[in-house]
């Protein structure tokens, strides 16, 4: 029996075949979502000089991501134990990264702007925010049993999504006049460029899976042809990429705050669903692997 002809097994059936992971679901997706938005907003704020948004990024990171992770835990009252094994565990490193990011971020906000210490903590804060943005990717990447996730593209995608999420929120807030941006960056161009880069990033990631293991191809099949295809093409591709790209390229900021808000909303929808779906289509290699019996 070839691997390709092995069935997809649901539930507790005692049958050989591909199995979907079903323990990391919407709460982990939400944690990734908030984690990327929070770190992205913080990174952008370092360049755009908006301390309030930097603070919002820290709060989203801690309450949004932290809260979602706490709900996910089977024993949330013991969450502090997750810090005890950073030597081997990416989850422990993620918790440490969040803590260090929060402390450095707050010090950066408290130090008088323009001072040497401020510049120093600005660099440290940038590094810690980037680390926070990619560590979730390493948490997924650290699963040798799920070939779709076990690729260096995942942390890279997480960083791209972090930058895009932060830019989208900034674009909306700046355009609406809620924040003053002292920037040389053109947020509209940055937004469009990042949407394109993310689209290419997702395409390369999925194309790299085509020639990977049978389990990775099974994941890809679930995503683009199987039960998750409608969600993937609807929320991630059409709403998250094509709709946002269309609005950004052909209407953009000239369409008013409502259009920019729509771009941001559509981007965030795509943003959540890419994480949610990548988790949903995580397929294990068949239990016995190459041991053909």
């Amino acid at each position: 029996m070839t691997f390709q002809s092995m069935p997809m097994v649901e539930g507790n059936e005692f049958v050989m075949g591909f199995r979907k992971q079903n323990v990391w679901t919407q709460w982990i997706a939400l944690a990734f979502f908030f984690g990327k938005i929070g770190s992205g907003m913080f990174i952008l704020s370092l360049f755009l000089g908006t301390p309030l948004i930097a603070l919002a990024g820290i709060i989203i990171e801690n309450i949004g991501k932290g809260g979602a992770l706490m709900i996910h835990l089977g024993r949330p009252e013991r969450f502090w134990r997750a810090m005890t094994r950073p030597s081997t565990s990416w989850i422990a490193r993620t918790v440490w990264a969040m803590g260090i990011f929060t402390v450095i971020g707050i010090i950066y906000l408290l130090v008088p702007a323009g001072s040497a210490a401020w510049e120093f903590f600005r660099v440290l804060a940038l590094i810690s925010a980037v680390v926070v943005a990619v560590t979730d990717g390493f948490v997924m990447n650290d699963s040798p049993a799920i070939p779709l996730w076990n690729t260096p593209m995942v942390p890279f995608l997480f960083l791209l999504y972090s930058l895009l999420g932060g830019t989208s929120v900034f674009f909306f807030l700046a355009h609406g006049g809620w924040i003053g941006v002292n920037s040389l960056l053109n947020l509209e161009t940055l937004e469009t460029t990042l949407i394109l880069i993310n689209l290419i990033g997702v395409a390369i990631y999925l194309l790299s899976v085509v020639n990977a293991t049978a389990a990775a191809r099974e994941s890809l099949w679930l995503l683009i042809k199987g039960p998750y295809a409608k969600m993937f093409f609807g929320f991630v591709v059409v709403i998250g990429f094509l709709f946002t790209l269309f609005l950004s390229l052909f209407i953009g900021a000239s369409g008013g705050t409502a259009v920019v808000g729509l771009i941001t909303l559509a981007d965030l929808i795509g943003h959540f669903f890419i994480f949610y779906l990548l988790l949903q289509v995580g397929v294990y290699s068949p239990v016995l692997g190459k041991l053909t019996i």
Binding site: Q21, T84, T88, V95
Partner: protein, 198 residues
């Protein structure tokens, strides 16, 4: 452990013995016997493949555990300390063999008779906690007493053999050597302590 696939008849005595020994709640199995249909009509075979935690030497579940709840004993048995487990399920995701299960909330109150726990369940469930991950323990309490794991003891076909892999003269080492024992999913580089022979 060595599992002789030629001897396994798919009776699931090991599955039942394991549940009896460990008193796991409904839908939670520390060992299972997978069925695999191979070949093409009219030459079709049904094969039985017992699976359990492989107590890997390089266990990904031990590595990814953020709390140290999943740990490896000196004798190689991988165990979960329920008091340290936070239920993050990283080990469930990391295990290539799908041999770890979360004990969901409410599971220990439900029992096999939906809301009514038998005296047996009341005693056995005291050893578990909800919201943590559970798995095969290789019946370490039995092993410490010089007994074999319950699944090995119950197998009517002697398809499961338990012993010391470090002792080259043990029965398991000889079986692996003489009959070409193979590890499941060797490409995962986890170095399982369970070998299959046919």
């Amino acid at each position: 452990m060595v599992i002789d696939l030629k001897r396994c008849v798919g009776c699931n005595a090991c599955t039942v013995a394991c549940k009896s020994e460990n008193g796991t709640p409904p839908d939670i199995f520390f060992t299972r016997v997978f069925e695999q249909v191979a070949g093409q009509y009219p030459i079709v075979k049904k094969k039985y493949i017992p699976v359990l935690c492989n107590h890997c030497l390089d266990a990904p579940c031990v590595r990814v555990c953020p709390t140290g709840a999943t740990h490896k004993r000196e004798d190689g048995i991988v165990l979960v300390d329920y008091n340290k487990c936070i239920g993050c399920k990283a080990c469930v995701v990391a295990c290539p063999y799908n041999n770890r299960t979360l004990m969901p909330k409410g599971k220990l109150k439900e029992g096999h008779f939906k809301g009514h726990l038998t005296p047996y369940e009341q005693v056995k469930y005291k050893g578990f906690q909800e919201g943590v991950v559970v798995k095969c323990t290789f019946c370490y309490e039995r092993v410490e007493q010089g007994l074999e794991p319950a699944c090995v003891n119950a197998c009517p076909a002697e398809a499961r053999v338990f012993g010391d892999l470090h002792d080259p003269e043990s029965k398991v080492s000889r079986l692996i050597r003489q009959r070409g024992g193979r590890q499941p999913m060797s490409e995962a580089n986890t170095d399982p302590s369970v070998y299959y022979i046919e």
